[in-house]
């Protein structure tokens, strides 16, 4: 590929989801490239067509090209898809912000909040770049299944129709992903981040050997908590009935492929959190998200019992049976009161 060529899209991030997005794009007629931080990874993708750390066992399409020159790649792209973990999101966004201009489209796929500030990723994009045409791409998209070429669906949410149209247009022709549009950026971001907390709880339930009744209880009450915090932050409650709410929740809570689910299950089996995280090559976003959400909920007096239980599991050395028992002992009332009377 010639260096100065225009790109329809640049995928920023060489992790599992960045690689999955590039794989989807390789099935379209769009000109795209991937930015990765490490030279060795770029070399591996470009020459061996693998990403052994984040997409082990998959051969990548030859169309995928990786670069480490962010500024040059950003300059050439009409749209940029950010697929980096929340922890390094601000730093990468700032680097993108050094080059990006107001006519370019910037969409992120990160499912988390900034730990210290509880800021959403789109807020960080606003703070770190000059571009206004931003959005979020999310949904039940386990990277492993996308790499295995299973059909899937996602949502792109933005205040700008131009962004929605452009991102939908990118995946036209892949035949494997249906990209829906929406304007509720807050709801999409909250749903995407929040479901990881419930995945931790669902994993813990599975780890304890509980069945589907327990998981359904956690999932539906988790959805209610998701809607509660979402509405408090300004989301449209209906967003949570979509792909990025209940859709992503079902996916991540049911699948053993979900990293957060794995963390929960291993916690239930008695492993220590540090040991679990150290043994994983990929980031379990649910862990920092739990901390960020619990801090926020406490500061504004929002009652989110499952979040609190997961927080205790992760950071206060509670055992899974105790946390579950405590949840089961909470007083019960009108199931939908918190949403009905908002």
């Amino acid at each position: 590929m010639k260096k100065k060529e225009h790109l329809d899209v640049l995928v920023v991030g060489g992790g599992s989801f960045g690689t999955a997005l590039a794989t989807l794009l390789s099935e379209t007629d769009k000109a795209f490239e991937m930015w990765v931080r490490r030279e060795e990874l770029a070399e591996e993708i470009n020459t061996r067509h693998t990403n052994s750390r984040y997409a082990n066992g998959h051969t990548l399409p030859k169309e995928i090209r990786a670069t480490t020159n962010l500024a040059e790649a950003v300059k050439r792209a009409s749209a940029i898809l950010m697929a980096v973990p929340s922890k390094s999101f601000r730093e990468v966004a700032r680097a993108v912000g050094d080059t990006i201009q107001g006519d370019q489209i910037l969409v992120h796929t990160t499912k988390g909040f900034e730990l210290d500030s509880f800021k959403r990723m789109s807020t960080i994009l606003r703070e770190e770049t000059c571009t206004l045409k931003t959005g979020v791409f999310s949904g039940p998209n386990l990277a492993g299944e996308i790499m295995a070429r299973h059909p899937a669906g996602a949502t792109v949410a933005s205040h700008y129709n131009e962004v929605i149209d452009a991102i939908q247009g990118l995946f036209e022709g892949s035949g494997r992903i249906r990209v829906y549009g929406g304007h509720d950026v807050v709801g999409t971001e909250v749903g995407s981040a929040f479901k990881n907390i419930i995945a931790l709880a669902a994993g813990a339930s599975d780890g304890m050997g509980f069945g589907d009744n327990t998981k359904s209880l956690l999932l539906t009450r988790g959805l209610s908590e998701m809607a509660r915090i979402g509405v408090a932050l300004g989301a449209d409650v209906f967003t949570f009935s979509g792909l990025t709410g209940v859709g992503d929740l079902m996916c991540t809570c049911a699948s053993p492929l979900s990293r957060n689910h794995q963390v929960g299950a291993r916690l239930a089996k008695g492993e220590a959190l540090d040991d679990i995280l150290n043994s994983m090559t990929q980031v379990a976003e649910g862990v920092p998200t739990t901390k960020a959400v619990q801090r926020y909920a406490e500061s504004v007096g929002l009652d989110l019992p499952i979040v609190k239980a997961v927080y205790r599991l992760l950071f206060e050395d509670w055992k899974v049976p105790d946390a579950l028992a405590q949840l089961m002992d909470l007083p019960v009332g009108d199931e939908l009161a918190a949403l009905r009377y908002r």
Binding site: R94, G97, D103, E128, C130, E162
Partner: protein, 530 residues
């Protein structure tokens, strides 16, 4: 406005509004009949009967014909209506008087403000300007504002509390050495003949807010946009109307605000040499507000929505205005105008060289926001979102550059104390009856004022708000004394009165009005009764 510009703007306004409503015959028909309906309703209550009769006859004639007309003829009839509106908005402007007014502005404005108090006028003729200079403090990014006005067209957007605001702003512009700004003033402002005369000739155009027709509103908006394109600085209140509650504006009207961006894109498309439009937010800050009683009354009646146009407020009573000005002057109460950093039409800050800067201070090529396939282009949905973004930045600037004064602090503190003493009591009942506590011990008041002032100082350090000089280096007793002197000086009923070592809340509605200036800053507050 120069003569040839006036003609051009007039034609352009009529042309654009016409094009907007004639994209398809259904829109044309709807616009025409909606306008005829709205105008008929308005004319039924028009006070000037002979004028109403004439206009009603004109509309009747149009309606008779429109009922049986072809789509082409309907669009011609709509054109007549639009041209009437355009002429009404832009037509009264007299360039010669404008030029004269620009030259004679200093003494004229001084006389104008002093004229509000005839006795004061006599006393101030020799030193009028000096007095006003002392009374109105202009601070903030004044140099950046002036630089922006040199480099492009500026749109001054201000917080709005009183009908005096436009006069103060006019005076401030003169003091900054800037030319008069184009300004859409409500008809009620023109009811005072003296003020009306000056407003007219200082760039103001008449806005008849009784005219509800969309076509008329569109003509107003388009007029503002066209004047911006021709390089005439504009001024308006993006809150749309005076803040009824007394709070700093948070929700801004998008229509007029969006005209800056519209003008900018037009200028880029037309490859104008000076295409830039800069938006300059500013706040006006008073210890006392002339119309406080009427405004808060209206707010409480239907949370501000019952009456959009208030014609019988304090501003329409010359004696009240004179009284207000003289009380304010005698208490040595300064009016603060704070100018915020100029912004581009996308909400980025603009430096004194005219560069847009992002949050990290990096230079931004602002033209690129409106480029599509290498050319500047309109996109209604995109531009609406850009304007929303700008509105958010302006609302932030309004809060950041609000000057908190003793009346705000003390009113907030007293009501905060009162809410705490009335747990579970209905909000309106507390306001009406004062709850179970008819007075507050001075020591409690001082403690509460101290605590809230401490929080405000923290907010000031974080650059979230400004504190008036009168809140600095004074003990709490003096601050409360200052507020009490103001609160009992002008309003019909003192809001707060000290008797012995207790403070009595006499008019809680007024307290609420001044209290509300401090809402929206995230102060920890006792939960309001429901």
């Amino acid at each position: 406005m120069r003569d040839h510009d006036k003609e051009r703007v007039l034609v352009e306004v009529a042309h654009r509004v016409f094009n907007h409503y004639t994209k398809d015959p259904r829109t044309t028909e709807q616009a025409l009949f909606d306008t005829l309906y709205e105008e008929r309703i308005r004319l039924e209550t028009e006070k000037d009967r002979s004028k109403a009769k004439k206009q009603a006859a004109f509309y009747r004639k149009i309606r008779r014909e429109a009922l049986q007309a072809s789509p082409t003829r309907q669009s011609e009839l709509l054109k007549q209506v639009i041209e009437g509106f355009a002429e009404e908005v832009a037509g009264h402007f007299d360039p010669r008087v404008f030029a004269l007014a620009t030259r004679v502005a200093p003494p004229a404005l001084s006389a104008l403000l002093n004229a509000l108090s005839p006795l004061r006028l006599l006393a101030a003729i020799p030193t009028g300007m000096a007095t006003l200079d002392d009374q109105i403090v202009i601070e903030g990014e004044t140099e950046a504002f002036k630089a922006a006005a040199q480099m492009g067209t500026t749109v001054l957007v201000s917080t709005h509390l009183s009908n005096l605001d436009s006069i103060i702003l006019g005076y401030a512009l003169f003091r900054l050495g800037l030319p008069p700004y184009t300004y859409g003033a409500g008809l009620n402002l023109f009811s005072n003949k003296m003020i009306g005369f000056f407003l007219h000739n200082l760039g103001a155009y008449k806005v008849d807010r009784r005219k509800k027709a969309e076509v008329y509103k569109h003509a107003l908006k388009t007029y503002a946009g066209c004047t911006m394109e021709h390089g005439y600085h504009n001024m308006f209140f993006p809150g749309g109307t005076r803040s009824r509650s007394g709070a700093v504006e948070n929700k801004l009207k998008m229509g007029l605000l969006g005209m800056g961006l519209n003008a900018y894109v037009h200028n880029l498309c037309n490859k104008k040499p000076r295409p830039d439009v800069f938006v300059v937010p500013c706040t006006l800050n008073y210890q006392l507000v002339l119309e406080a009683e009427t405004l808060i009354g209206d707010y409480l009646q239907a949370v501000g929505k019952s009456r959009y146009i208030i014609e019988d407020d304090e501003f329409s009573k010359p004696k009240r205005v004179a009284d207000f000005i003289s009380k304010l002057f005698s208490l040595d109460s300064r009016i603060h105008m704070v100018v915020s950093k100029p912004l581009d039409v996308f909400g980025n800050e603009v430096d004194e060289q005219g560069n847009s800067r992002d949050h990290r201070g990096r230079i931004v090529d602002r033209t690129r926001y409106v480029y599509r396939d290498g050319e500047p282009a309109f996109d209604a949905q995109r531009d609406q979102e850009y304007t929303r973004e700008l509105a958010r930045v302006i609302a932030d600037a309004f809060h950041r550059d609000t000057v908190i004064k003793p009346t705000h602090l003390v009113s907030y503190s007293i009501l905060d104390w009162l809410w705490e003493k009335c747990p579970g009591m209905d909000f309106y009942r507390v306001l009406r009856t004062g709850g179970s506590e008819e007075s507050i011990p001075m020591t409690d008041a001082y403690n509460r004022v101290d605590r809230i002032l401490g929080t405000l100082r923290g907010l000031e350090q974080k650059n979230c708000v400004r504190l008036d000089d009168s809140l600095r280096g004074k003990d709490t007793g003096a601050i409360v004394g200052d507020a009490l002197a103001h609160l009992k000086s002008y309003h019909r009923r003192p809001a707060l009165l000290r008797r012995g070592d207790r403070l009595f809340h006499e008019d809680r509605n007024l307290l609420l009005y001044y209290h509300n200036r401090l809402t929206g800053f995230g102060l920890p507050t006792w939960e309001k009764p429901q």
